[in-house]
Amino acid sequence: MGCLSKRAIQRLAVLHTLSLWRKGAYGPVRVHKTLFFADKNSVDATWRLFTFKKWNLGQYSDEIASALNDLQAARRVSTLFDGPSERIRAHVPASIRPRIAAFFANYFQEWSAALKPAFKEWAHLRNVDIINRAHQDATYTGANHGDTIFRSFSAKEVEFDGLDADVAEQFSDLVDDRLHEGLLKRVAQAADRPRKNEDWRRIYFGEETVCA
């Protein structure tokens, strides 16, 4: 059995969604809307992935914004300024991408099924059309500015029956910004110093070195 934190699940969902754009998503508005309508059209309302509120540009999620920032810190998302907007790209090793898709298909079946039509409908519209259409949706017209439209599931960690422990660790590590910062720092430290062979037997176990 494997376990993932809520934040890791949200980061994986954002990463998985971003991977659907072959050349990256033009701006965050379409990412928020694609994920909003995937959550909205998911049959399982008890497992909504993100909290959304009514904001200036329509249905907006602080949790998605936070996931994008964390993924950028973990080097899983990069932005490229391209024409009038920035292109947001996902960076996931090719070997791991299908595993993430399979994870959502297995454990968030309704959401995964709802993501496909949401992507088809919202992913490639012009920003102005996205905003106009999103503003006509009942979730927007029926709410006041700042109102919460949907609330994400409440568990901090979720255990998944049948999820391989190694795969769960791999998913967590993939989106762990702190681990990546640490790896970059420590690899640089190790690379910049002379190679040294330590007598670890003596240091940790009080043994004298036997071999030369």
Binding site: M1, G2, C3, L4, S5, A8, A74, R75, H91, P93, S95, I96, E157, L163, D164, A165, D166, A168, E169, Q170, S172, D173, L174, D176, R178, L179, H180, G182, L183, L184, R186, V187, Q189, A190, A191, R195, K196, N197, E198, W200, R201, I203, Y204, F205
Partner: protein, 114 residues
């Protein structure tokens, strides 16, 4: 045989070695394994592309040290040089419950107690 440098995680390894006799033995075997054949341990697949670009010769691997309730991970760099010699730098050693995310608060507590 690979040369092994653990100086970046000295405090952590000393703390792990002090946990229990079994864990101490497992740590000994792990370090011996690193020395004998570092490539026997599985590679980390998920490290950033930036790292691969900057250090193309770097291979990161991990070692499990597990004896319930003690679960630890060692993360190390496996260097292979032109003359076929090998070197290992252990860069992380921390507690981790199998199948769970890294609990950084627990890692910090572990370092404080070490």
């Amino acid at each position: 045989m690979a040369s092994v440098d653990t100086s970046l995680v000295r405090k952590e390894l000393k703390a792990i070695a002090a946990r229990s006799k079994v864990v101490r033995k497992l740590l000994y075997e792990a370090l011996e394994g690193l020395e004998e054949d570092p490539s026997q341990y599985s590679e980390l697949e998920m490290y950033p592309a930036e790292l691969r670009q900057k250090y193309p010769d770097v291979v990161l691997r991990k070692v499990y040290i597990e004896h319930n309730p003690h679960n630890y991970r060692l993360v190390f760099i496996h260097w292979t040089f032109e003359d076929s010699s090998e070197h290992v730098d252990v860069i992380y050693a921390f507690p981790r419950k199998r199948g769970y995310p890294i609990d950084w608060e627990q890692v910090e507590q572990f370092l404080r107690d070490a």
